[in-house]
């Protein structure tokens, strides 16, 4: 058996995504000749890592056909826990363990509501979103926690071989989750549940266990993101990550994951996050008002999604048309 030729066959969505990426890269180089420099790219990586890691977790939830609106506030809660632990003198390792433990608890609460009690994910996570935010606010009394010890800074400000630590974490997590989704049984189960949860259950998949894994993984991702941000800005606040949520969901969808689940992957998500981060960066380099950034992010999301839809519809039409033609030819013979 010969070796399979490495062919790149892209779906239409992936082509649109790459096209958007190239257009933005081009725009960036036109705006500023500092854009396409190594240093700026690394800077973008550093800025997008927190959002990217959260988006990875969200991808898993959305792939199962659910959603995790509590992702942002889980990040804030984990950040506050880390902050409180570190400022009370705990060593870095122990503080991180506490924070991870809290994240697991958050994920369990979500999974309990969604998979065991069968509460629709949107409502369940809307409730837990407010609840986690509330807990974080009460613990921190709404204040920001400063005096984070310098030993913790490495995760957010350190560099390994010139690459920011958080970018490495993002790449490693992306690769790991990609392998899980493509190669491991858990990944198969996730996609199956996303396609049709009842059918998956009938096929013998333990949907409760899989959903627990998914939501706990998502919360863990948020925990990583929270800790990285605390390390980056040397402060812990309950409202960290709040603004990320909607952007992350947008990035996941932009990256080709279907919001109803069953289709998509982490690679596209990272691309989506990268696109949003670049837009932000280009606008800052151009000195454009931050309000234009909001407008641009929303517009690009709508444009890409609509464009995808139109091209899919015309593809379907072409297919139907060509199959009709083929049938006509066959019947003529």
């Amino acid at each position: 058996m010969g070796k399979e030729k490495f062919r790149i066959r892209l779906t239409l969505n992936q082509m649109v995504l790459l096209g958007t990426l190239l257009i933005i890269l081009l725009t960036g180089t036109l705006v500023s000749h500092n854009f396409l420099t190594l240093r700026n790219m690394l800077s973008i990586f550093q800025q997008m890592s927190e959002m990217g890691i959260m988006a990875l977790g969200l991808t898993l939830c959305i792939l199962t056909g659910g959603n995790d609106l509590s992702a942002g506030t889980t990040m804030g809660l984990c950040a506050v826990i880390t902050g409180v632990c570190l400022t009370s003198g705990m060593p870095v390792g122990l503080a991180m363990v506490c924070s991870l433990a809290v994240a697991v608890i958050c994920g369990c609460i979500n999974a309990l509501l969604i998979s065991v009690m069968k509460v629709p994910p949107m409502i369940a996570t809307l409730g837990t979103q407010m609840f986690f935010n509330g807990v974080a606010l009460v613990i921190s009394k709404g204040n920001s926690i400063s005096n984070i010890p310098e030993s913790f800074y490495f995760f957010g400000q350190g560099k390994v071989l010139g690459i920011p630590v958080q970018a490495i974490v993002l790449l490693v997590l992306t690769a790991a989750l990609s392998i899980v989704l493509k190669r491991k049984v858990l990944g198969r189960y996730i996609i199956a549940i996303g396609n049709n949860i009842k059918a998956a259950a009938y096929a013998g998949i333990d949907t409760v266990k899989v959903l627990f894994a998914v939501y706990i993984l998502c919360s863990l991702m948020c925990c990583f993101a929270g800790n990285i941000q605390v390390a980056r800005v040397a402060t812990a606040r309950a409202d960290m990550g709040g603004v990320f949520l909607m952007q992350c969901i947008s990035a996941v969808v932009l990256g080709g994951t279907s919001i109803n689940g069953g289709r998509g992957g982490v690679g596209g998500t990272v691309l989506g996050v990268f696109i949003f981060a670049m837009i932000s960066n280009i606008m800052n380099l151009a000195g454009a008002s931050s309000f234009w950034q909001q407008f641009a992010t929303g517009s690009i999301l709508v444009l890409v999604v609509v464009f995808n839809c139109i091209t899919e519809m015309s593809q379907k039409r072409i297919r139907v048309f060509s199959s009709r033609e083929a049938r006509k030819l066959r019947s003529k013979k």
Binding site: I8, R9, L10, Q14, L18, L21, L25, S32, H33, N34, L36, T37, L38, R39, N40, M41, S43, Q46, Q47, K141, G142, N143, S144, S146, N147, Y153, G156, Q157, T174, S178, L181, K182, Q229, R232, V233, A234, T235, R237, D239, M240, V243, G264, G265, V266, G267, G268, V270, L271, F274, S280, N281, N284, L285, G287, A288, S289, S290, F291, Q293, Q294
Partner: protein
Amino acid sequence: MKKLVSLFLAAMLAAMAFAGCAGSGTTKDIPAADSGAEASYTIALVPQQVGIPYFETSNDWAQKAGDDLGCTVIYTGPTSGDAAAQANIIQDLITKQVDCIAVSPLDSSAIAPVLKQAQDEGILVITWDSDIDDTSLRKMYVNCSTEQLLGEHLMQRLAHYMGEEGEYAIITSVLTAQNCSAWAKFATEYQEANYPNMTRVAYEPCDDDQAKAYSITQNMMTAYPNLQGVLGVTSTAPSSAAQAVREAGKSGEIIVTGVVEASVSREYLLDGSMQEANIWHPGKLGYLTIFTAMTLLNGDTLTDKQDIPQVGLVNVVDDQVIMTELLDITAENVNEYDF
């Protein structure tokens, strides 16, 4: 998806290769509007949040300063009170290689790492309106008064109208806002030390949302029937509080003061629902910031009691430039101010 991931990595490598070709260092972005033979300086004015009238006024005057002094002023900041977003913006400004970053920090320690980066790159860093903890990271701090002085002054004026007794409440923006919390803290401490007959009954955030400030004031009037004063330490709060007081028919009974612009407070000062606005001219502060930046970029220093055009006399104490005009705006003089 693996193909997509590998394509992504390939695209990144290509981008880095391009970047390598473009040169390892970053070059200055020379502004297009450059008429003279010499390159003019680019100063980035970074507020705590864009979309707040206080900072927008600072920007208007800063742009004027840019025209007067012959430099380019870029105004950009986060759209929400997010310190991490402010850090991102500063990082991009460093990439853009501006000559000076003048920042009003949202959080006194959150942007320390990026400011250090800026300093290492040779970019001048100054702070305005609010300061950071590690003062070695910035050359100068342009402000109107120290946080302690302002906090005490706010309390003095409130107490003056309240007759130095009664219950009062403080409304702030978000609890994590550094300068607002500092003003509230110093005001409360001053009250505890000097006005024993006054009691603070509530300290609530309004998230810089006037609808929230309005409903909080109404709820506080219900919760504390003997409430006699409301101090708004964020510019969103006093006018909404005054509106609530006016509608409850308690104008003059409940004292409303705080940090707020003349234009926003005018109607309430004139009809008596607000007693006083204690603020400085944000425009002049913005102008002074640009002036300070230009002075430092040109290698000069500011002298104490220097008279700066458009701004007036300033005090220079160590590494602080203090605009000496803390204004007490009342119904009598509100029409003199244009901000």
